[in-house]
């Protein structure tokens, strides 16, 4: 039954898009409304609850002192995880989710935009070379899966990092401790933004809803920095692309991200 319903939905979405329309009446290059609150979780050092249309994503940032990676002994560490909690969609199983490769991919693509854009200056998060560094955990919780999770999760993560007041880690008698009552901003250098472009036959759409994603061929995520350098790319889903379609998708992503930057006015905290 489920499969039949999906197939009907798939066909109806595709025929609608082929007529130049979307189920919610948006233009193909139009993002849904974005609203967010920060510092919503007092037990985290930074957090952001983001609404992107019906999608709700909560990202929390915490830090800890830990060991550096052997190949970067004087740099802090970023660990990004994503979970779809069972309340977010009807098909999420509790326990280790079977479709978990989707969530591992979300975490890895969000991580790629943050890491490759060099958003965080990890050289400033070293406590003792080769021994202790600050580990930054970004935990992505999808609360309501209304589609376009990667763009939403990237944005929520970036906002949570921008507004984070991390613990002040210092060495006391050679051991790392968090100084009581003291916090500081993360050392932020750049602000990456991700835009996914979905392909439906010849049509390219941004910010797809969950319903639209049932009908798409596949999508390509572009993570862009302020200078419009590309820092991360991921094709996700199986439908193939031509070179020309990819070039057009990149143009659409650049324009969309530039509009989002103007609208959101994200800034590094002073």
């Amino acid at each position: 039954m489920q499969e039949v319903v999906e197939e009907v939905k798939r066909e109806s979405i595709r025929s609608l898009v082929a007529d130049g329309k979307r189920p919610d009446g948006r233009a193909f290059d139009q993002f849904r409304e974005i609203t967010y609150e920060t510092n919503v979780i007092s037990t985290a050092e930074g957090s952001c609850l983001l609404h992107l249309g019906d999608t709700q994503i909560l990202v929390a940032v915490k830090t800890a002192a830990g060991e550096p990676y052997p190949d970067s002994p004087d740099e802090g560490v970023l660990i990004t995880s994503a979970e779809l909690v069972p309340l977010a969609a009807p098909d999420v199983e509790s326990g280790p989710p079977l479709s978990s490769d989707k969530y591992i991919e979300i975490a890895r693509v969000v991580d790629r935009s943050i890491r490759e854009s060099k958003m965080i200056d990890f050289s400033k998060l070293c406590l003792e070379r080769g021994k202790y560094v600050v580990v930054v955990f970004v935990d992505i919780h999808t609360l309501d899966d209304g589609g376009n999770l990667i763009d939403g999760a990237t944005l929520a993560s970036v906002i949570a990092l921008l507004t984070c007041r991390m613990k002040k880690w210092e060495l006391v008698d050679g051991k790392p401790v968090a100084a009581a009552g003291q916090t500081q901003a993360l050392p932020i250098r750049r602000i990456p933004i991700a835009c996914s472009v979905a392909k439906f036959g010849k049509a390219l759409l941004v910010d797809t809803t969950h319903e639209e994603e049932i009908g798409m061929d596949s999508k390509i995520v572009f993570g862009l920095d302020e200078e419009e350098h590309i820092r991360a790319i991921q094709k996700t889903g199986s439908g193939p692309w031509s070179r020309e379609e990819i070039e057009a998708a990149l143009e659409l992503a650049r324009k969309t991200v530039s509009d989002l930057r103007k609208k959101l006015k994200l800034e590094v905290a002073a």
Binding site: E3, P70, D71, S100, D101, K102, I104, E105, A107, R108, R112, R115, E116, S218, I220, E228, H229, I230, R231, A232, I233, Q234, K235, T236, G237, S238, G239, P240, W241, S242, R243, I246, E247, L250, R254
Partner: protein
């Protein structure tokens, strides 16, 4: 290895290659006897085996689809395939690579021919030197054809990237570690359909298109290599 001062000297890379030159590649079809199909690719220092089982009964059963076969891909790195021993078994990186590899191969298959069944591809990296996902996709393409699975086309894969500020083809381990960007792509050569695209690093939009064109430029050559490897098995 410490970061070398330069990765490119007078137009030559550390291993002597030109910027647009692939590493030496060997392809073999049917190295495994139990599998329904198999392929082996040596790509520079990468050594990767792929096997195909199926179409066969789907395990676990609930993954079955009533109107088509499913494609299951498991990309795995052997514990000894890298310098420092890797903990055996799947991790987040291999889970992601398994997913994008499945999506890279799926468009080439007529899955609708085999409802309720499963086609299982296993990719085993025996020795790694950057570029294992591309090597694995080439090996899997050979294995699928060897298994007699109906295909629209073969799938070839190759990476382009940026080192010392220059766009170049097929990064090896040192270039990947110390370079600025790595971009693997997979292509169905007959219609130049791109089925895998990933990138991490720093590319301007112009550099990105340049990297893509460089990679697309060797697709037909790799296609020819795969076809020759397949004919080699069935000729003799």
């Amino acid at each position: 290895m410490e970061k070398p001062e330069r990765l490119i000297t007078e137009g030559k890379r550390l291993d002597g290659r030109a910027l647009n030159e692939l590493r030496p590649i060997k392809m073999k079809v049917g190295p495994l006897k139990r599998a329904d199909g198999s392929g082996y690719v040596e790509w520079g220092k990468n050594k990767v085996l792929a096997s195909v089982y199926g179409p066969r009964e789907t395990h676990p059963r609930h993954l079955q689809e009533s109107d088509s076969a499913i494609l299951q891909v498991r990309y795995n790195m052997a514990s000894f395939s890298v310098e420092e021993r890797k903990r055996p078994g799947p991790d987040r990186r291999s889970t992601e690579i398994s997913k994008v590899t499945r999506e890279a191969l799926m468009p080439a298959l007529f899955l609708g021919y085999y409802p309720r069944s499963s086609i299982d591809v296993n990719i085993e990296v025996l020795q790694a030197d950057a570029g294992t996902r591309c090597t694995g996709i080439n090996a899997a393409s050979l294995a699928l054809a060897d298994a007699g699975i109906p295909m629209r086309d073969l799938v070839v894969a190759v990476a382009a990237g940026k080192i010392d500020g220059q766009i170049c083809l097929d990064l090896d381990k040192n270039e990947d570690n110390f370079g600025e960007a790595d971009m693997p792509i997979a292509v169905m050569p007959r219609r130049k359909n791109i089925t895998l695209l990933q990138m991490d690093g720093d590319l301007t939009p112009q550099e990105f298109m340049q990297a893509m064109d460089l990679a697309m430029g060797v697709v037909d050559y790799l296609y020819e290599m795969q076809r020759n490897a397949l004919m080699e098995k069935y000729r003799g």
